[in-house]
């Protein structure tokens, strides 16, 4: 079957039946294809697309331009004797034909990130290989500011996701003592941001693990030169200290301490612990400007009801957000959530799913993560969990799940209870860094 391949991660490339057709496409057409390809399952308003790519002051002319471009694209494929139409379109809207065999690298990237097995090393390596460069690198449409702004947004989003993937890989290779691979990943990261000192520090430490003192010193000097030439600053104290220790021969490779194959990570999601008396002061500190949406939840500390806290947070999200935005959330995810929460049923197909307990976990965790991601939409959110030590096991697993994956940006979590040495706290502490705030 004929295949259209759209590569957006790096310099844009479009292949039709294995041959590049980029030279046959106008700049705008490449832009339209890219824009639609990133959200391939969506249907797009013709007016919206026309306004993005042409001057919105003359809607007739911009719609005409769109029509012409779509026609020329259809013609290109018709010339190739393909019976199927690439687009399904009517007067108002247009979308890719699902029957048409289309591969989009950015979509593959995203799907693999969203996959619940996202953190398997094979998957992460695959994602890494998909990223050949910046999203639509060097591409620009000179008279379409909306498109260019979208481009900035997407480019940044993909870059951040890619860096997160690299960080996970580096962490994994280091914890499994595959230091050469860890170095390769660190070089990838330095390639994106050569001014990030922490990467050089990690590189130096990795060479120490390989017992290669010369290369450790070489990368110290490299760090000093880059920082001096680019920013005219000295390296941070930690790097200088490690340099001194290497010089004095005080530093030797050491075996990584493994914790279930995953080292304790400093989650980018901020995690705090306090008791009730410290909550107000903590809130004053971390939400001083009151710019965070606060969601107050509680566990059920007198008995273990599975999914209790998860259900609680779904209730709070539904209570706090408008029906329209909730309805936009995909129905299949509501179906998944409705397995453990009755309010979610209102948005679901009301069907009874017959699946195993293990699959329920996967489905619910995934669906709730995506719900939080879409509804919070990068806004700053502060989730307070009262009586944390009474949390049910499934919900505790879910909290670990979102903390590890870091797919929901800009959330902070406050855990409230009296005993910081309770087993639930120990479990969280085993994997993640917590900031304690005790009066």
């Amino acid at each position: 079957m004929a295949k259209l391949e759209i590569y957006l991660l790096g310099r844009v490339e479009i292949l039709w039946q294995g041959e590049s057709i980029i030279d046959k496409l106008s700049h705008k057409l490449i832009g339209i294809l890219s824009y639609m390809a990133v959200n391939r399952e969506n249907s797009f308003s013709r007016n919206k697309i026309a306004n993005i790519f042409w001057d919105s002051s003359d809607s007739n002319s911009s719609r005409y331009n769109l029509r012409y471009n779509i026609w020329s694209l259809r013609k290109l494929f018709k010339d190739n004797n393909i019976k199927q139409d690439i687009f399904i379109a009517d007067k108002e809207s247009i979308r890719f034909n699902e029957e048409f065999n289309i591969y989009v690298d950015a979509e593959d990237f995203q799907n693999r990130l969203d996959n619940f097995r996202a953190d398997s090393i094979d998957n992460l390596e695959h994602i890494r290989n998909l990223y050949k460069g910046e999203f639509l690198e060097g591409f620009y449409i000179k008279d379409s500011s909306q498109f260019n702004d979208w481009l900035f947004y997407e480019r940044e989003r993909f870059q951040r996701d890619y860096i997160n993937v690299l960080a996970k890989l580096q962490e994994y290779y280091k914890s499994t003592e595959r230091y050469q691979k860890a170095i390769e990943i660190l070089e990838n990261m330095i390639n994106i941001n050569p001014l990030k000192e922490e990467l050089y520090l990690e590189l130096i430490k990795t060479y120490i693990q390989l017992d290669n003192r010369d290369l450790a010193l070489h990368h110290y000097n490299r760090c000093c030169t880059v920082l001096r030439e680019e920013l005219n600053v000295s390296p941070m104290e930690e790097i200088k200290n490690i340099y001194k220790k290497i010089k004095k021969g005080e530093i030797k490779p050491k075996k990584e301490k493994k914790v279930s194959n995953i080292r304790k990570k400093e989650s980018k999601l901020n995690l705090y612990y306090t008791d009730k008396s410290g909550l107000e002061d903590l809130l004053n500190r971390i939400n001083e400007s009151k710019d965070k949406e606060v969601i107050y939840t509680s566990t059920y500390p007198v008995g273990n009801i599975e999914y209790y806290w998860i259900s609680e947070i779904i209730d709070k999200i539904i209570e706090k957000h408008k029906e329209e935005s909730l309805k936009e959330f995909r129905r299949n995810y509501w179906n998944d959530l409705s397995m453990i929460n009755s309010m979610a049923m209102e948005y679901s197909d009301n069907i009874l799913l017959n699946i195993s307990n293990e699959i329920i976990n996967n489905k619910v965790f995934k669906a709730l993560e995506i719900l939080m991601k879409e509804i919070f939409n990068n806004k700053k959110v502060l989730i307070i969990i009262n009586h944390f030590n009474g949390i049910d096991k499934k919900s505790l697993e879910f909290i670990k799940y979102i903390l590890y994956r870091e797919n929901i940006k800009n959330i902070s979590i406050i855990l409230i209870d009296k005993d910081k040495d309770h087993e639930n706290m120990k479990e969280i502490r085993k994997y993640f860094k917590i900031e304690y705030f005790i009066k």
Binding site: G138, F139, N148, Y153, R160, I163, R228, L231
Partner: protein, 512 residues
């Protein structure tokens, strides 16, 4: 066969030799000074094949040295749009739009000298404002001291930016608005200079050299590469060293000793910024700035780090120089030199300090003891030294101690003169004029001493005093012809002297 190639006669040849001799004529053969003297002895060399110029009593001096020039950046700035007179964002838009109409599509338009403190809006322009000027060109606006910048959307889009860099200013949608500060501005600067073609560098550099030649300069100390510049500038000078019509001596501004050795250079440094500048109030002082209480400026190196760099370069027999303006920075580099020379004494190293604007008496004595060369810019006093000028505002009474040229010479030290172009323009006569007419009279030099700053001392500062810097037999025929003799006119008139000819190794590069 010709006995000589060029004869200049009937002149005032100010030789700057050790006896300060003055002659009437000079003969040049194979690029070198063949003979010189008084009277008519030159006449026996006159014949139809020899170029002979009656210079009608004008003065001939050794070709000038400018010991401190950022040559590539001077050149690139000459190709940029000067925004120093712009007073509002709409004026800026007008200026950039005008340049866009004259510039081939796709080419970068760079604006320099933009000063947001003098702009009605009091800020840098956003990309949305710059997009109104042109969508066919990348536009890059630099603030006057280069540490803050703005890009239009096209430029921003064409660069690979690490979005987690500190210093990307964002709009209400959290998208970059085109303005960059701190790390982001420095990073983008590097990216853009990395993309500037060497063809463009060449165009700018030759334009700058043309201007230098018209000011009588035959040797330039080019301080290139490193922070706030770009290493490609230094590499460009290395690759084109023999293509320039005048001599260009590279100072590679890096702390990477291996890189310099690999390039077979015998010197390292230049504007390795130990501190900032008085203008930006970050030159490092021991007392507060007079117009900024609590601010003593900033040192960018830790002493230990500087010591290590200086020691390593010194041990590798390199000549070293760094930028030190305020007294705290001067103290820091003196300590580093004392440390290195204490560990590994070396005679005739000629390590230098660039600027040396605010030394104490003790600093001068220690610099003498170390055998340092001071590379200074007398014209700073012309622009900033009078009452009410920059030095006065920033330093108060301390301005009476700035650039103490005479005191330094009287202590037996040697000063090489420069312009710091393009902080001030390449113009040795202005430097000589200011050194002679220093706002603090007690620091004024006599005219001959001032000329030496830009001739023989410049040569000494780069180990070239045996081949250049004075008009003596066997030295290169590098000469400048002036319409008036600076030794014979009122010292206030020196700045009005005109360069009427520049000769490099016997070749006439410029004649008015």
């Amino acid at each position: 066969m010709k006995d000589v190639d060029l004869i200049l006669y009937n002149g005032n040849i100010v030789t700057i030799d050790s006896s300060n001799s003055i002659f009437d004529w000079i003969l040049i053969k194979d690029g070198k000074i063949f003979d010189l003297g008084k009277g008519n002895k030159y006449k026996k060399y006159l014949n139809d094949n020899v170029e002979a110029i009656d210079i009608e009593g004008k003065a001939v001096l050794p070709g000038f040295y400018d010991s401190h020039v950022h040559l590539v950046q001077t050149g690139l700035n000459l190709l940029s749009v000067d925004l120093s007179d712009v007073r509002s964002i709409s004026e800026l838009q007008e200026t950039i739009s005008k340049r866009a109409k004259e510039t081939p599509k796709g080419q970068l338009i760079r604006g320099v000298g933009y000063d947001d403190f003098r702009i009605k809006e009091g800020r840098m322009p956003t990309r949305y404002e710059l997009d109104k000027c042109t969508t066919n060109h990348s536009v890059w606006i630099n603030r006057v001291e280069y540490h803050i910048s703005s890009l239009n959307s096209k430029a921003l889009n064409s660069l690979n930016i690490p979005f987690d860099l500190e210093g990307i200013i964002r709009d209400e949608r959290n998208l970059p608005d085109g303005r960059l500060v701190g790390n982001a501005s420095a990073y983008i600067r590097g990216q853009i200079f990395n993309r500037i073609s060497n063809k463009r560098r060449k165009k700018g550099v030759f334009k700058a050299i043309d201007l230098a030649i018209k000011k009588g300069v035959t040797t330039i100390g080019a301080l290139e590469g490193g922070f706030s510049f770009h290493n490609k500038d230094a590499e460009f000078i290395i690759d084109n060293k023999n293509a320039f019509p005048i001599d260009v001596n590279l100072f590679y501004q890096t702390i990477d000793v291996e890189r310099v050795l690999k390039n077979r250079l015998n010197r390292i440094g230049g504007c390795i910024f130990l501190d900032g500048s008085f203008g930006s109030r970050n030159a490092a002082l021991s007392q507060d700035y007079s117009d900024d209480e609590g601010n003593k400026g900033k040192l960018f190196f830790k002493q230990e780090e500087l010591n290590n760099f200086v020691l390593k370069a010194h041990k590798n027999n390199l000549q070293i120089t760094v930028h030190a303006i305020g007294d705290r920075a001067i103290e820091q580099i003196l300590l580093a030199y004392e440390y290195a020379l204490g560990e590994y004494p070396r005679i005739d190293h000629r390590h230098r300090i660039e600027h040396f604007e605010l030394p104490s008496d003790e600093h001068i004595e220690r610099a003498k003891k170390l055998g340092l060369v001071l590379s200074m810019q007398p014209a700073y006093e012309h622009y900033w030294g009078e009452e009410g000028d920059l030095y006065d505002r920033r330093l108060g009474d301390r301005r009476k101690t700035s650039n103490p040229l005479k005191k330094i010479l009287d202590n037996g030290l040697l000063i090489a003169g420069g312009s710091d172009s393009d902080v001030t323009a390449i113009d040795p006569l202005l430097g000589i004029y200011t050194a002679v007419n220093h706002p603090n009279k007690e620091y004024s030099l006599d005219v001959l001493e001032a000329i030496k700053l830009f001739t023989i001392n410049g040569a000494y500062a780069v180990f070239e005093e045996d081949i250049k810097g004075s008009i003596e037999k066997g030295k290169y025929g590098d000469l400048v012809i002036l319409d008036k003799n600076p030794l014979k006119i009122d010292k206030k008139e020196i700045k009005n002297i005109e360069v009427v000819g520049t000769i490099k190794e016997g070749n006439i590069l410029y004649i008015k």
